[in-house]
């Protein structure tokens, strides 16, 4: 009632102008626009989902299950590779260096001739290394620092000399690859962790910085306090964060007029 009275008192309109305007203002929103808006409204509430793309949901489930299975299989493989190696033969330390050398130069019974030949050829030091699976395994054994299983130093040296087979060709390349892979897996984690830790640390630091550059939820409750916070960010020189916040503010409070 009060509104009506005040409207009448402040009536600044003109009937003729209104009537003429009504005659010209006959446009209607195009049907295509209506359809687009209503579709958007429908999509936002998820009603149109099952109708239009009903196959997507089962497809997504199937893909998720498949992915999970693949991960489980992969993890199983990894755990098999990571199982402890068969126990090494205990190598008795030689009582004296001479004995050790002699003992080392004698091939054990049942060793194949080429292996023995390889030992006799005595390849140069630079040819040694992981050229054979046995050498790779030896390297791996050397890196293992468990005191209960580690062989005494002289015996290990002897073993290396004895097992060094770089003088003959190995036909079974996959074995070599597998041994190398095994060695990598045994040594890898720490190296990777060392490499990853600094990058992770810097990423955490960046995230922390980003979090501190955002306005709190309490501040975001009203557009005015949110805008004040954005101004604070701008004043502090955080232009990018301020712009990001401003975009979010516009989305959350579209009716708020940015001064």
């Amino acid at each position: 009632m009060t509104d009506e009275r005040s409207t009448r008192r402040d009536d600044v309109t003109d009937a003729e102008v209104s009537k003429t305007y009504r005659e010209i203002a006959t446009e209607r929103a195009p049907a295509s626009l209506n359809e687009r808006v209503l579709r958007a409204a429908n999509a936002r509430t998820g009603h149109g989902y099952s109708r239009t793309i009903s196959w997507l949901r089962p497809m997504a489930w199937a893909a998720t299950i498949g992915l999970c299975l693949a991960i489980v299989v992969e993890l199983n493989d990894v755990s098999q590779l990571g199982e402890p190696l068969p126990e090494r033969r205990a190598i008795q330390p030689a009582s004296s260096p001479e004995k050790a050398v002699t003992k080392a130069k004698e091939p054990p019974a049942g060793l194949a001739a080429p292996l023995a030949q390889g030992r006799i050829d005595q390849p140069s030091e630079d040819k040694r290394g992981r050229s054979t699976p046995a050498a790779a395994t030896l390297d791996m054994l050397e890196r293992d620092e468990a005191p209960s299983t580690a062989a005494p130093e002289p015996a290990r040296e002897n073993l290396r000399e004895y097992v060094d087979t770089s003088g003959f060709e190995v036909d079974d390349a996959p074995i070599l690859e597998e041994a190398e892979e095994l060695a990598r897996m045994r040594d890898g984690p720490n190296q990777e962790a060392d490499a990853v830790t600094p990058s992770l640390a810097s990423r955490f630091a960046q995230q922390e910085a980003a979090i501190s550059l955002r306005c709190d939820d309490d501040v975001r409750a009203t557009p005015d306090s949110w805008f004040e916070c954005i101004e604070g960010l701008e004043d502090a020189g955080f232009e990018a964060a301020a712009n990001e916040e401003l975009a979010e503010l516009k989305e959350a409070f579209p009716e708020f007029e940015i001064p």
Binding site: T7, V12, T20, Y21, A25, E27, P30, V37, A41, E257
Partner: protein, 213 residues
Amino acid sequence: MILTNPLPAGLRLSCAAAVSYAAVMDHRVDDSALMLRYRDGDVEAFEALYRRHNDSLYRYLLRLCRHRDTAEDIFQDVWGKIIKSRERYRPTAKFTTFLYRVARNCFIDHLRRNRRHEGSVDIDVDTQMHDGVDAAAETERSLARRRLESALAGLPEEQRDVFLLHEEAHLSLDDIAHVTGVNRETAKSRLRYAVNKLKAAIAAEIADSLEAS
């Protein structure tokens, strides 16, 4: 089709009854209530709300921008924002005020981004004759309409905005002041200037036709 809200629990309607109920609901339920129902996932409520305001908002933007493509872009943008912000919607003011405030902000954002609408007027004034009306009178009305359209396009932006909010959204002076972010007296003054100029434009047309006859 089953309507559960606000009907009593367990009451089911046939399709025809539901349609007639929806028609009644369309006129009785408050805009804000419809918006709140849409917030809770009722898409039909949004459709009812949209049908109430789509044409008037479209005309408002069309005459504010004076460029059809721009108006359509902004129109979509406005409704997109309304849809997105439904979670945060609180019926603190009239929905119409909220809607036109969003529309105005979108228009201002558009102005800030680019100014392609400037100087481009592509709105066709309906000059077709209406059936069963005297040809001379119709010509006169047609001229008046054309004159008004031209005068409206020539108004300063603030005055045109206020006039359109008054005519299309049927907002009161207080609401216009709220939407445009000025005080009530400023809004009133702008509206008066706008109406007087438009009135003068129509009157000049009538005087011209009288002189000619």
